[in-house]
Amino acid sequence: MSVKTLEIDGKAIAIEEGATILQAAKENGISIPTLCHLDGVSDVGACRLCLVEMEGSNKLLPACVTEVAEGMILHTKTPKLQNYQRMTVELLFAEGNHVCAVCVANGNCELQDMAITVGMDHSRFPYRFPDRPVDVSHEQFGIDHNRCILCTRCVRVCDEIEGAHVWDIAQRGEHCFIVSGLHQPWGEVDACTSCGKCVDACPTGAIFRKGSTTGEKERDRAKLEFLVTAREKRQWTR
């Protein structure tokens, strides 16, 4: 396998062909913000937080789905990118009902952390205050659509790792929501194996274990990676 050399934020990098910009950055200790990316499942390039600038191109490239190419010169922290990242996070906060103070994931939330990363001290966009439901019909878990950012990680883990495809996206545009089965209460969806992978995958407090209260959500992200390695490489190391 051939090796590609490129430059990210002034650092010379060599990495095998086929790797993504995100992988290249990560291996070299350069952090690029992401929300929809999750190790172990396919990438969709939807959150647009991982966009990077490439010299000689006026298009911004999503790092999670763009493969490295020889001689790329990339910048991940330009003022323009930082501005757009902050706006993206503000749009997310304004779109849902993200009340950190009363959330199970308070202190352990990727959206909350992302707000800090991008320096969001307030949202310039008015909050939409949508009327969204909470479904606690499942005996172990609950889903609070108020906190959902539609990253579709739950859809992908359930389909690609567990194979149950309990979740999908319904409607479109601003009306999109994560749907279980035929828009049935989660607890009544036969396909669900109660494996809890969606809880581990969820970046916010949208999918949670019942009984956990403010700030108590924990997730075992490593389990997902363990399962993928076990399945794909037949290696059970943890």
Binding site: P126, R128, F129, P130, D131, R132, P133, D135, S137, H145, D159, A164, H165, V166, W167, D168, I169, A170, Q171, R172, E174, H175, F177, V179, S180, G181, L182, H183, Q184, P185, E188, V189, A191
Partner: protein, 182 residues
């Protein structure tokens, strides 16, 4: 000044699937046979989903739960995927529609020529908003994103027949004729 937030996204209520009491009766329904034929013609392939949904919408008038479950089983697709596709496209409806349909084109040409006034008049007459059916179940009021009849804007489709260069008064007359029917 703080004002009421308009158009906050709607989120339909969850519904438990119906018990299968209607299933036997449903299976003998000829309309399900039509679905079978469509699925068979497409070798029960996953990619036939939209075509089968079209057929279902045509035969049943809307996509009721039983029908969606039937299609999901026929094509061996996850329920959530079928629901996701059925709700993505404008032309599929999960609610029963009225005896008549009236589609107002809101394309640019129609918009410039005053289609919003036609729509307003209709909403007032029917006492309902676009995407819904009048309380008596007679007329479903819909809008379209350009039906390609821009040359004769503004255009309204009454039960599948396009009428061009139409004024609000004329539109109301046609609707009133429907409403007067038994």
């Amino acid at each position: 000044m703080p004002t009421l937030n308009p158009q906050s996204p709607s989120h339909p209520d969850l519904k438990s699937p119906q018990s299968s009491k209607a299933k036997d009766q449903a299976l003998s329904d000829r309309r399900f046979k039509t679905l079978d034929m469509t699925m068979k013609r497409n070798q029960f392939k996953h990619d036939a989903l939209i075509e089968v949904l079209h057929k279902a919408q045509e035969s049943f008038g809307y996509l009721e739960e039983e029908v969606l479950i039937y299609i999901a089983r026929g094509l061996k697709l996850p329920l959530s995927r079928v629901y996701g596709v059925a709700t993505f496209y404008h032309l599929f409806s999960l609610k029963p529609s009225g005896a008549h349909t009236c589609i107002v084109c809101l394309g640019t040409a129609c918009y410039v020529k005053g289609s919003s006034k036609v729509l307003q008049a209709l909403e007032q007459e029917l006492g309902t908003s676009v995407g819904n059916t009048s309380a008596d179940g007679k007329v479903s009021l819909l809008s379209a994103r350009c039906i390609g009849a821009c040359g004769i804007a503004p255009a309204v489709v009454f039960d599948g027949v396009v009428a061009g260069k139409i004024e609000p008064e004329e539109t109301l007359k046609r609707i009133q004729a429907w409403e007067a029917e038994d």
